[in-house]
C-alpha cells in the first residue's frame, strides 16, 4: 500500500473513532483532553449529610409538632454557664475605632 493510501486510512480511522489526526506527531496537548475528570471521584470521599436535625425541625414545625434537639440545648446551656462565669465571648467589634480602642486597653 502506498504512503498516501495509508495516511488516508488513518485519517478515516481517526474520523470514525473521533481521534486527533496528527501525522506530523506534533505535541498538541491532546493527552490532557483525553484524561478523565477526577473531581467527582475525589469529592465523594467523605460521607455526605443528606438530612440534618434542623431540616427535621423545619419540616415538623408547620405541622404544630414540637422537637427537642438535645445537643443544641446542651450547647446553649454551656454558653449560659460560661457567660455567668464571665467566660463568654467578647462583644463583636463593629467599627475599626472600637477594635483599636480594645487593643490599647491591654
Amino acid at each position: 500500500m502506498s504512503q498516501t493510501r495509508l495516511l488516508d486510512l488513518v485519517k478515516t480511522q481517526c474520523r470514525i473513532f473521533s481521534l486527533n489526526f496528527n501525522p506530523q506527531r506534533l505535541r498538541l496537548g491532546n493527552k490532557v483532553l483525553r484524561q478523565r475528570l477526577r473531581g467527582p471521584a475525589l469529592a465523594s470521599w467523605y460521607p455526605k449529610q443528606v438530612v440534618s436535625f434542623q431540616d427535621l425541625q423545619n419540616t415538623y414545625k408547620p405541622l404544630g409538632l414540637t422537637t427537642f434537639d438535645e445537643a443544641e440545648d446542651d450547647r446553649e446551656e454551656a454558653i449560659q454557664i460560661a457567660k455567668l462565669r464571665g467566660k463568654g465571648r467578647p462583644k463583636k467589634k463593629r467599627t475599626a475605632a472600637e477594635s483599636r480602642s480594645a487593643k490599647k486597653k491591654k
Partner: protein, 117 residues
C-alpha cells in the same frame, strides 16, 4: 485571585460521620478541585499545545500557577472517614488500619474475616 482559604468554606457543613478541622479542610480542597478541574485542564492543554503562540502558552502558565493551592489535586489527602487519621488509610474501606481492624473485628465490614492458618 485572593489567596484566602476561607473562600472555600461552605455556608453549611454537609459532612456526616467523623469531622475535625483537618477533615473539613480536606473536604474543602476536594470541592475546590472538583469545581476548578475543567479550568485547570484547559490551561494545562494550552500549555502543552505547541501549535499555540508562545505568548498564549506563557500566559496560560502564569494563570495556572496563580490559581489557588486548594484547586490543585495534589493537595488532596485521603483521610480516614471514621477517625480523620491521615496515615495508613486503606483506600477500599476509606479507613485507617486501626479503625479497619476494630470495625472488621466487630463485624461491621461485610466479607472481611480475620485470617488464621
Amino acid at each position: 485571585m485572593s489567596k484566602v482559604a476561607s473562600l472555600f468554606h461552605p455556608k453549611r457543613l454537609n459532612l456526616s460521620g467523623f469531622t475535625n478541622i483537618r477533615v473539613i479542610r480536606d473536604n474543602n480542597k476536594r470541592m475546590a478541585v472538583e469545581q476548578n478541574e475543567p479550568e485547570r485542564q484547559a490551561l494545562r492543554y494550552m500549555i502543552r499545545n505547541t501549535s499555540l503562540p508562545g505568548r498564549v502558552r506563557a500566559q496560560a502558565q502564569l494563570q495556572l500557577s496563580q490559581m489557588h493551592a486548594y484547586t490543585r489535586p495534589t493537595q488532596v489527602k485521603n483521610r480516614c472517614v471514621a477517625s480523620g487519621h491521615a496515615r495508613s488509610v486503606i483506600r477500599d474501606f476509606r479507613l485507617n488500619r486501626y479503625q479497619f481492624r476494630m470495625q472488621a473485628l466487630a463485624g461491621h465490614l461485610p466479607g472481611v474475616k480475620k485470617a488464621s492458618w
